[in-house]
Symmetry: C2
Subunit: 366 residues, 2 copies
């Protein structure tokens, strides 16, 4: 089923998001940073983390949970580390700021490790390691989120989607892993509900904590904060390694919320509380261990070996991580980013509520 | 089906492993370090990484691939990092040595990152983060291995089991994640073959690169180094996130082999080559980000919340990672470690081949 919508120039849409945030007191360059992350998700075809979220971000601003003018504050710093308070500012811009700090430290001290507390949703996690990759550094980030994942053996949504993102420079594409630690991404629930599709078995539990194929029932479980949610990567029980997905989510929880001294996922968006989630950023200079060009070449050759290996299905190519996204970006830069009609209507409504004319920002590519 | 075997005092078995390695030129303390890791796996009920492997290690010594007398050499060092050449020594002892180095650096500089090249199988990965955990540091390690995992979309075993191990101090048990990035552990293949059991669907491919339920066919695929192997965590294709397990394995490959400038998994045990695998160790002082006792308390409370949450099945407890292992250890320290009859016969044969009397080392606990 083809979705109804249109393609718009990415730059115009970025200006729209910037305008929204500056209207609520964000500095121009701060708003521009956040909008670059959001629109990059659309350029990479990760629509669930792109401008589809604008309506939610606007609502969070109105609720006083997202404060576009808030600036980060360094609470404690060493040559290799920093603890930063985000003061509930723009999650995307805070994350860019923290990763830049980690990169500076990696340049001077070999490694930079930054822990961020009191943040908000930072969107497409892969953006931040990519900043390090461009500087020929390893990049790594994790964040916790609203509770939506059920630990192995439990029926309560006590863990976040808790993504892991990691990147290293290579040719012709970098290696860029960006994965939630759940068996299916949370975005699949709304997508499947919209398209009237059933989930595969072993993906989620309903409001009674029982297995279900109904994506809306899983979402209802998450919203209830009582029983139900998405299962960990590996699915139900331990047969397919569900305890591994659960364990990875716990590792993310420790690195993001426990180290930052902020909300664990079970306390995010519960009883209408503020998010105040935690994030963790690492940049590392691999010249600590040898010649960077040699390592990058080694990785490029290895990924080439994988892509050119014998296919399970002759008609389905073997991809390395990041490849699909970089291929999509080239096309979307040319053709414009695709925005669904319903999402576009939300954007127009947001502009009207804020009180500015959205038309100059949405230039259709035909 | 109950396995035939007996329980032996752990200390005696450690002395046996030490005797084996010193017989081949290892220094006493070096051999003792390796044996402590090996027997700790049995104490933790991770038999696949315990004394079951002695026969393989002995064979590797005879083949000249494992050199018990080899000592690690630091090739490059900073206050936060080291690149170490393992010279194909005892994998377990080398890993302990590297983690100790990382811990020292974390104590003085906040973080210690050690990359090890030319190593051998280091066994139970969780041992090394646990060393850091005892010092109230975060501990992390990854290693690549023999090629046995098939990347998503491929039918060749080009990636290792590539485990991730991570730990943090908590009460009453630490958090200790120790997981391969495959959908099932490699040890399940021999276990299921021995017990004449079939695999679940979506766990492995045979020598033609086709899905199979036969564990021996998956092993044959791995041994062929041509087609077949275990699927990534998440299984076949992308429906259940198989590309995530594949991506995690790649992250491990980068951190272990690419940074160390040593063999990627596709080149290990291929055409009878030496292993020369890579390993990566991190220790991090979380007092960089706040009060360690507060963080540990936060984590302990959170894990308590998980364990006491509503159960999916009222009769099945909810565990946190490391809990089962610590509970097993207490019991096995008391009751002795269980060694199968077939494995014990291998030990006797090894002792005979080396030329010492094994009887004093195996004290049955009755």
């Amino acid at each position: 089923m083809a979705m109804t919508g249109a393609r718009y120039r990415a730059d115009g849409v970025k200006d729209f998001v910037t305008k929204l945030y500056t209207s609520f007191g964000a500095q121009e360059n701060w708003a521009r940073t956040a909008s670059d992350v959001i629109v990059m998700a659309d350029l990479f075809n990760i629509q669930t983390h792109g401008v589809e979220r604008i309506k939610d971000y606007h609502q969070a601003i109105l609720d006083g949970k997202l404060i576009p003018s808030a600036q980060p504050e360094i609470l404690h710093e060493t040559s290799i580390s920093a603890l930063v308070d985000g003061h509930e500012g723009l999650g995307h811009a805070l994350a860019v700021w923290c990763m830049e700090l980690a990169i500076q430290k990696a340049r001077t001290s070999g490694v930079g490790i930054v822990s961020l507390r009191n943040s908000n949703h930072y969107g497409f996690a892969g953006y931040y390691p990519l900043m390090a990759v461009k500087e020929h550094l390893l990049g790594f980030t994790v964040t916790n989120t609203e509770g939506l994942m059920v630990p192995t053996g439990s029926k309560e949504p006590l863990l976040g989607s808790n993504p892991i993102a990691f990147g290293m420079y290579a040719q012709p594409y970098p290696f860029l892993l960006d994965m939630s630690t759940t068996v299916i991404p949370g975005g699949k629930l709304s997508l499947y509900t919209r398209d009237n599709k059933k989930l595969l078995p072993n993906c989620g539990l309903d409001t009674e904590g029982k297995p279900t194929l109904d994506p809306a029932a899983v979402r209802a479980g998450i919203n209830s904060k009582h029983f139900g949610g998405i299962l960990p990567l590996g699915g139900l029980g331990e047969d397919y390694g569900g305890h591994k997905g659960y364990g990875l989510a716990m590792m993310v929880e420790i690195l993001s919320s426990i180290l930052a001294g902020t909300n664990t996922s079970n306390n995010i968006r519960r009883f209408d509380k503020h998010d105040k989630n935690g994030e963790f950023f690492v940049a590392m200079d691999y010249s600590l261990f040898g010649d960077p060009a040699e390592m990058e070449n080694h990785l490029s050759c290895y990924m080439d070996t994988l892509r050119n290996s014998a296919r399970f299905d002759p008609d389905v190519p073997i991809y390395t991580h990041g490849q699909k996204q970089f291929e999509a970006m080239e096309e979307n830069q040319r053709q414009g980013i695709f925005i669904r009609e319903a999402t576009h209507a939300e954007h127009l409504a947001v502009a009207q509520a804020v009180g500015f004319d959205p038309t100059p920002y949405f230039q259709e590519v035909t």
